[in-house]
Point group: D2
């Protein structure tokens, strides 16, 4: 069982991720975590805070001589602007944030809520996911997240090897797969900024080389599609999740939705076993299980809730209408969202991998994947 | 902690739901469960199996003198066509089903997978949800599920009192809110049926009178939006979930997404405390918590995977291409999906209610809701 | 993840166990479950209820052609004296039972509590455990529970092959390993019965052929000693649990407690890998993990709480002192307790086995145990 | 849901506790945590490491202006002798430790296991428990842990107000309730030390002023006796747990075990509601629920596994017999164990309190306890 939780506030001492059940034998690469944290701070349309200084992860526990030992791994990212004790409370809850609901639920100051509800918490989720991808890559599973919509503008996904697509994305200011065609979107963001408005978007994550059988059909709370949906919907500002064709599947006839199954003896390997599909409308998941096709998931992010041209709210003390509090913020964080969703998905895939193949040592996992292939080859006569 | 699991196969003895942590003091109403089970079997476009005979729930445990006692409640729905032991295996996995992935994962026959992966399992989820709504209604929380898209045809949601909307829906053959305008959709379904094709759609659920503070912003795995997304995405054939504006939120500027907060002294009650919104684009959830607005969620259902004009597949024994196995099936089950999603959402809201307000006796919950209101009124000077 | 819950009341329709995560490919043997249920009803000193008729398990779900399919397995044991709706409430809570605490906690009738708190619930726990032992035996793990104390009289454990010890136990009226020497204990029970009193005792369970590494040292809530202690202490009437030497270990110096490690090249097998111990004071568990020695656990059962010579209590309506209600009951149920603890331990060992070696198909588990052995042999040069 | 996990190794950077679900509104008192950590380092018979320097907790998250805000609380205790990267591996597993089982399970170095299996991890468990007791004391629940056996020497528990008993304990070198009578035990420890041997013992924890209804009878995994047993048995070196009379209950007739119930109108308060007992053999728990009597639990600690006169072991490289590795260690840590068990129990009681009474704000909990009392008074006519 691979699991994690986070702790930490936006202007507190820092953000923590505690990962429990991570297998032994994985060489820890802090740079991968820091790389993802850096990417999380980037993207066109970000506000001042991201520029303070780069987030740096510190691994507090769980290794010896640079290698994991099966112990819980705590990752700590210090906040550069730790000042929570000096910060004032807010009197006007900001629409779109948890300010009002949290203040009522917890009998709390607004400050006491926003500090934890803040998207800064995603530092911990990215760190945990970036750790998890080291487990995935040891099993030859790779994944990529990118932006496919910026406000009303679309950046269609592309086919191709993930390394090639990664190059495209990494040369894009908006983390799309269209580095050359982003001027319109950037103009749109600039226009919104001028108007004190904000911009949302849609991200897609693609996971490749996934073996058969992650997740299960047998019980609702262990289905992988449900697990992924929970993890992604629980990300700040995410309002929609879809897998494969998603909502589009609802609008097509079945004959244009389901992916015919073919057997190709030249592709009998540890993943497909030779069972291939010409299409992948299911997004790699059937009946809550991976089907050896790429897992493809999209998430919709609403625009940033803090607007420079503030929304109407109410002063909790006077009960009189006032505009919402404004703290300097991003105009568009969809690029960051692509990093967060990518890493959150990475964690869930890794957790499902550990569920299916065990989790005590990375080499044991690899050998069990091989054993799984062998046993299926034998049984199916492949 | 209110939780549940199901057991049972499509052609096994029956379907079971085990609900643990249900409060004492709730008068059990079997008719409500049977009503939802009946609705699950209905809707235009259903196949032969639904007509066999009506599902009837039996409550195996958890009550004395017709009232719950805090014990686990097991609900049993016998299968009218129990014949699993006599049923043959399939040799050709059906695209869109878990046949292939499950057979590989579990080293299993296809029969061993499809019997559990079948949508018949949702009988258990509906039963558990229909039980949970008896807890909700004791707390004046009501909800309604309805169809808003049938294949390419839209049936927009409507404003209005849930009782009025429920009347509309219950007089609709397709469980939309437009009983008078369904001819086009029915024609479309008939046309697909003639062509051996199938039809999907989109459902919406609306939960009203939810108090502040269900769910939390504090930890990712306890956020209510994530919990709802998991529960709904884990329903058979669901490929997308969105809350409030959902994907549309990603395409609008922030000024047209977030819901300004107003204070209306005439609406200070146990739910809103007077904090009202003119819009509800957030769908009642901000930062993973309920904000006293209606919770609105949509789910996309792909078309039925079993087509009369079967899809290409492969014979697992010969590895030769063959068309997929066909068992008589529905053409369109979106109406049933609206019942399933509605009841699955009911369960998650009830679980979140028990998390926030406790769960030992229904009257204790009601008194705690009052106490919550009183303490907040006092603190906020309402 | 192998897990289970139970439902059902003492005089309700029956008792249910829902087992989730059970691997595919196990041939179900109903007789094993019924055999354990029968044993649970036996033993010297039992009251009238056990004689009504033998409990019979029915498997409601989770198999095809007699073999498990990875689906949840629901086991149902009907109550022969279903009459809960006709039963009256009690006015006087019985000391030693949950009557008072439950009635206050749940704002409940006493009837509403005692029906679920009753030891009849252990039917479900035995059924789940008896299922789990079919998984264990497929992996050559065997276990035996027996009585080692009856009130003040001791029946020391014995060394020997489990089959031999099982024969002793099964020819014993009290389920001890001393079938020839139970007269004193039976006299003691008879004497207590005459005096309207009741008798407790101590049981021991011994699990053999356990591989290394079930449980873990890495996180408190995944340690196997803790898991076993929870499962056993949560059995009705159990007030103490100890592993290996248990409390005796606290009283000896360390040199007489810890078990020296030896390497014996003639015993390099899939369990010990050749690492043997002359003593097993640790009871097979070090740092929350199995160490390939037999797991040995003892549990203390208090005497039956319902006495024919009733204890003082209070009438909840009048608040006046009255003696507690009496329903015909056992005098001594320690034999039954040995069956319950044995099967509860079986389930936890099976769950730990599934955690370590996975759980999709029994043959996959077996192969992974082999792989584990091979990899360790290679690494350690065995 | 109040829950926690720990991370950190013995010679790593430090030990972490992550507490999730802690209510808002509790004034954090770091001194209470540091006081318990200091006590954990004390007691007669401790080795050199405890003298390095006092452990100091740092709270990394979860508060604003000194008060909890409902966010996860991470507590960090830096290790004064952080040197894990420079430490060598061991070649000879130490009996009584997890060295061998862990090295096999995780395909690991011994160092990789012992660093996490070390009792140093209990720093995190004490810190979490010391935080939890701040919640308990806000609800007038108090508890005390003390030593009742040191090796073969007994220090019987005493009756009296916890403050008085606490004074006794805090003036005792061994943390017993007999500060004046410890010479024999200290001599015994000195003797064992001279002989290169080690000493174990038994501790008792007493929790007072517990309301009715923590835990439940309704499902095995939510029973409070089981939860306590798991938490305590999962502490390093604990081999037995008993509640109330424990094993002694098994040896007495029922008439001398169960606690008659009386009603005393002068003691109708928020805890007992007037239902009192002259004895408390049940240790405050009946049917897995608190019964408003003090919860009394004992735990048996085996002697320290690391002996100066080392035990026989085997060199994993040569497979030849060698004595076990020795790192300077304690002779007797039973005093520390009393601190650890006390705080671990504190956490579980707090978690059960949050389960029963909710957990969003401490004042809400307090008001709900009052409401519970009022509703029961009304219902029972008190």
């Amino acid at each position: 069982m691979l699991r994690y939780w986070t702790a930490g506030e936006s202007h507190g001492k820092g953000i923590l991720a505690l990962v429990d059940g991570f297998p032994a034998g994985v060489e820890l690469n802090l740079e991968i975590i820091n790389r993802e944290l850096l990417r999380r701070q980037g993207g066109f349309g970000r506000g001042g805070r991201q520029r303070i200084e780069q987030d740096q992860a510190e691994i507090l526990s769980g290794w010896w001589r640079g290698v994991t030992i099966g112990s819980p791994i705590a990752i700590w990212v210090a906040n550069r602007d730790y000042k929570i004790e000096k910060m004032d409370d807010l009197t006007r809850p900001r629409p779109g944030h948890g300010d009002l609901a949290g203040a009522v639920k917890y009998f709390s100051s607004i400050r006491g809520i926003l500090e934890r509800a803040s998207a800064r918490e995603t530092v911990g989720r990215v760190a945990a996911g970036a750790l998890a991808r080291q487990l995935l890559s040891a099993c030859q599973i790779d994944l990529l997240g990118y932006v496919v919509e910026v406000g009303p503008i679309k950046f269609p996904a592309k086919e191709g090897h993930l390394d090639m697509l990664r190059q495209l994305r990494d040369s894009s200011e908006l983390y799309t797969l269209h580095p050359e065609g982003e001027e319109e979107a950037k103009d749109y963001i600039r226009k919104c900024q001028k108007e004190g408005d904000t911009v949302g978007g849609v991200v897609e994550v693609r996971v490749e080389n996934v073996p058969f059988g992650l997740g299960t059909h047998a019980q609702w709370d262990r289905k992988l599609d449900g697990r992924l949906a929970q993890a992604v919907m629980a990300i700040q500002a995410i309002k929609g999740v879809e897998i494969g064709l998603g909502f589009e599947a609802a609008r097509r006839p079945g004959s244009q939705v389901h992916d015919p199954i073919h057997f190709d003896p030249s592709q009998v390997n540890s993943r497909t076993l030779g069972f291939v599909r010409a299409t992948n409308h299911a997004g790699g998941l059937e009946a809550g299980m991976s089907n050896a096709q790429p897992i493809v998931l999209r998430a919709a992010m609403k625009p940033i809730s803090t607007l420079a041209r503030p929304l109407e709210s109410v002063n909790l003390e006077t009960k009189q209408p006032e505009t919402a509090a404004y703290e300097r913020s991003d105009v568009c964080a969809i690029s960051a969202a692509s990093v967060i969703v990518e890493n959150v998905v990475a964690f869930e895939i890794a957790a499902a991998l550990v569920d299916k193949f065990g989790g005590d040592h990375i080499e044991e996992i690899r050998q069990r994947i091989k054993l799984f292939e062998q046993m299926n080859r034998e049984r199916l006569g492949l």
